[in-house]
């Protein structure tokens, strides 16, 4: 929050990456997301905050059509990535997810070596022409995941053998390796200790220089630390969306104020 003036200046110059209008999500008969309008900006960290069950994770999963894998979920509304509707019939959800990567709440490295974990995405999308190029991608991604120095001597060791914080950074490196344009993070630090959390937050800040990052978090301090824009969800509604500094210092909606001061949620 101390660099708020700089953040504001940046926000002014960024263009909109992902435009969401009148979004509705139903789980069976439950109306989980109601009339949400959000603009995710490029090269910006956007935080979704709100009490448990308010729909922030559900909304995040709409952005790369992960809800398609849930049978009972129905998504309506318009989601435009660079002006193209991602729910259009012509869009292949698999291609979309390569562009809109995702990091999950619990670190979920595959039961493979560290190298193969990171090389997984580049391999299935054919991003590397040969082994040397793949090696390069893996190293670059691991460096960007701020975990290279810790694992460079044991790339063949299983990814599942790392500590929780290392696993999560490995998962971030894995997501980065496919060169996504937007990176979605669903409570990436909830399973981590404060030191690992600090490392991941630092990483998120670095990632901002290349990607548009959307992060769901329960920790308001974290949202304040890492994001430039914040959206507050409550009971499936988007209550307030604006610059992080403003949300935390001068919220317009009384519900936002109650939440950030700890009276609800």
């Amino acid at each position: 929050m101390n660099d708020m003036s700089r953040v504001e200046r940046q926000v002014d110059t960024n263009e909109i990456k992902l435009e969401c209008r009148d979004c509705q999500v139903y789980y069976g008969d439950t109306h989980a997301i109601k009339d949400v309008n959000v603009d995710i900006e490029d090269k910006t960290v956007t935080a979704f905050i709100g009490p448990s069950g308010c729909g922030k994770s559900t909304f995040l999963r709409c952005l790369n059509r992960m809800n398609d894998t849930i049978d009972v979920a129905r998504v309506m509304g318009s989601f435009k990535l660079d002006g193209e509707d991602i729910y259009d019939k012509r869009v292949d959800p698999v291609q979309l997810r390569a562009k809109v990567g995702m990091v999950f709440q619990k670190p979920n490295p595959f039961p493979k070596s560290i190298y193969d974990n990171v090389a997984y995405g580049p391999r299935i999308h054919g991003l590397a022409k040969n082994k040397a190029e793949l090696d390069e991608i893996v190293e670059k991604s691991l460096r960007r995941g701020a975990i290279w120095d810790e694992v460079k001597d044991r790339l063949d060791a299983p990814g599942t053998g790392l500590s929780g914080g290392q696993q999560q950074r490995l998962c971030i490196a894995r997501a980065v390796a496919t060169e996504p344009e937007v990176l979605l993070m669903d409570e990436p630090c909830s399973a981590l200790d404060p030191i690992a959390t600090a490392q991941v937050e630092e990483l998120i800040d670095e990632l901002r220089s290349r990607y548009s990052v959307v992060i769901v978090t329960h920790s308001m301090q974290q949202a304040a630390r890492v994001s430039q824009k914040t959206a507050f969800f409550h009971l499936g509604n988007l209550v307030e969306f604006g610059e992080t500094g403003q949300i935390f210092t001068n919220p317009e909606d009384p519900r936002t104020e109650s939440y950030i001061t700890g009276r609800i949620g």
Binding site: N64, V94, G101, M102, K106, N108, F110, P111, Y120, G121
Partner: protein, 490 residues
């Protein structure tokens, strides 16, 4: 007194003890359950346990020990002169036991007066005639030493069983009395009963283990007998299996290699059928099928596992064999002479194994956490890429276990082989020829009328032992694989 009566008497004592213990406990607390350490039923159960456990324990031990004791005593009564040339003490003892049970039967049928049967100086000719009249098998004339031994055998057993009945009943009464006397409001009956339950569970576990040891020992001893009669090197390295059926031995060739080859050939064909089909079925069921299809298809697939193997054998004999013969027989490609062949048995066995592979693999694939799949989808992988590169590697140890379990089944399978693969032991690479397996030959060697002490019958134990060691090795290997991969994946 028959054992059943003894059993019922002890049971009756224990039930009475239960009721008395319960009422004494209530009485000692002045009729108020809250004054007791344990619920009244525990006091009853405590008395019951103390009645039943020592009494039945003694009963079992007595029943095991008495025949051994009587045998050794009676065997000492037979003078060395009574053992003929070419015979042995154990054969004479078998005759004594036959004579003893024959005498009892003859007396109860009225062919022989009881006084004669018990008279140590009775005329052996009369006794022999009496036994013959009673329809008891008498291989030779009863001699004086055998008659005397049989008589003392009978009387010692009779005395032994009466003493046993008395002692067991006394022990039951004493146990009940101790239990009843102990019963008091402060007595910790619940803890004692819990201990008893623990011992019961331990006993159940040990019986399973001891039985396994017993089975292995019986195999080992009979195998040892076999190797005394037949050279081990000929058994393990002989490439011909042609037992002589005259029972005289000498001309038999008992090489295990053709049988092992048949076993492995048929098992491999079966696994080649079962593993891909089962695994693909499991992948479809767990990853692609809608819940409704799954709820319907999985039980249906598991019905296959419930079909008795003899029915599969009939299917092989009557349907698959002729069908293969049409295609590969003399009217078709000309590779196949008759419906019974490795291919017939292997295909049908493969069908039998599909549910083993699919059902286990399905459970294992379902156990792979959804987070793995989400992680892969989140990177833009398709469903089939996710299954091939993430789900299957994660499920691999379990799948290997399922396959090896199916392999054990295939190696041990008998009925399908008997009906589908024929009975000819042959070393051949042609899968359309008849072959046979170790298990099928064990059956045919033991169901024939060969003398039980001949190598032709004893070879069954050597075959069983070999099979046991092979499947044990397979299981150990499976465990090793599963553990090795698990270390890597968790």
């Amino acid at each position: 007194m028959p054992i059943l009566w003894l059993f019922l008497i002890v049971a009756a004592i224990s039930v009475i003890g239960y009721a008395m213990g319960r009422s004494r406990a209530l009485q000692s607390a002045g009729g108020d359950i809250r004054g007791l350490h344990s619920l009244p039923n525990f006091y009853g159960a405590n008395v019951m346990l103390k009645t039943v456990v020592p009494a039945f324990g003694l009963l079992i031990i007595w029943l095991l020990v008495q025949p051994l004791y009587v045998d050794s005593q009676v065997s000492g009564l037979i003078p060395d002169t009574a053992i003929k040339e070419g015979s042995s003490r154990s054969l004479v003892m078998a005759e004594v036991r036959r004579a003893a049970s024959g005498l009892d039967a003859a007396v109860s049928q009225g062919q022989l007066p009881a006084s004669v049967a018990r008279d140590p100086n009775a005329d052996v000719a009369v006794v022999t005639q009496g036994l013959k009249d009673a329809g008891q098998v008498v291989t030779s004339e009863i001699t004086q030493p055998i008659l005397n031994a049989a008589q003392s055998y009978t009387s010692m057993n009779a005395v032994g069983y009466s003493v046993m009945s008395v002692v067991v009943i006394l022990l039951a009464l004493a146990g009940a009395a101790i239990g009843w006397w102990q019963t008091h409001a402060d007595y910790r009956a619940r803890n004692v009963v819990e201990q008893g339950v623990r011992v019961l569970l331990l006993a159940a576990a040990s019986i399973a283990i001891l039985t396994t040891i017993g089975i292995v020992l019986s195999l080992v001893f009979n195998t040892w007998e076999f190797f005394k009669l037949y050279p081990a090197s000929d058994f393990f390295f002989g490439t011909t299996w042609s037992p002589s059926f005259s029972g005289r031995g000498g001309s038999s060739e008992l090489g295990i290699i053709p049988l092992l080859w048949g076993t492995f050939y048929i098992s491999i064909v079966a696994l080649l059928v079962a593993v891909p089909i089962g695994l693909f079925a499991a992948i479809y069921l767990s990853e692609y099928a809608s819940p409704r299809v799954r709820a319907f298809a999985k039980p249906l697939l598991e019905v296959l596992a419930g079909i008795p193997t003899i029915v599969y054998g009939l299917f092989a004999l009557l349907t698959v064999g002729p069908l293969l013969l049409d295609v590969f027989g003399d009217n078709g490609l000309g590779w196949m002479k008759a419906g019974t062949a490795v291919m017939t048995a292997g295909l049908v066995m493969g069908i039998m194994l599909i549910p083993f592979v699919s059902s286990l693999s399905d459970d294992i694939i379902n156990a792979v956490p959804q987070a793995m799949r989400d992680g892969s989808y989140g990177l833009g992988a398709t469903q089939s890429e996710t299954i091939r590169q993430v789900v299957l590697p994660a499920a691999l140890p379990g799948i290997v276990g399922a396959i090896l379990l199916a392999a054990s089944r295939a190696i041990g399978e008998t009925m399908i082989v008997v009906l589908g693969a024929g009975a000819a032991a042959r070393l051949s690479l042609n899968p359309f020829e008849a072959m046979t397996t170790v298990t099928a030959k064990i059956v045919s060697q033991l169901t024939g009328d060969a003398d039980f002490a001949s190598p032709e019958a004893l070879v069954a134990f050597a075959l069983g032992m070999t099979l046991f060691i092979l499947t044990l090795g397979l299981n150990v290997f499976a465990l090793y694989i599963v553990r090795k991969y698990r270390e890597q994946y968790e």
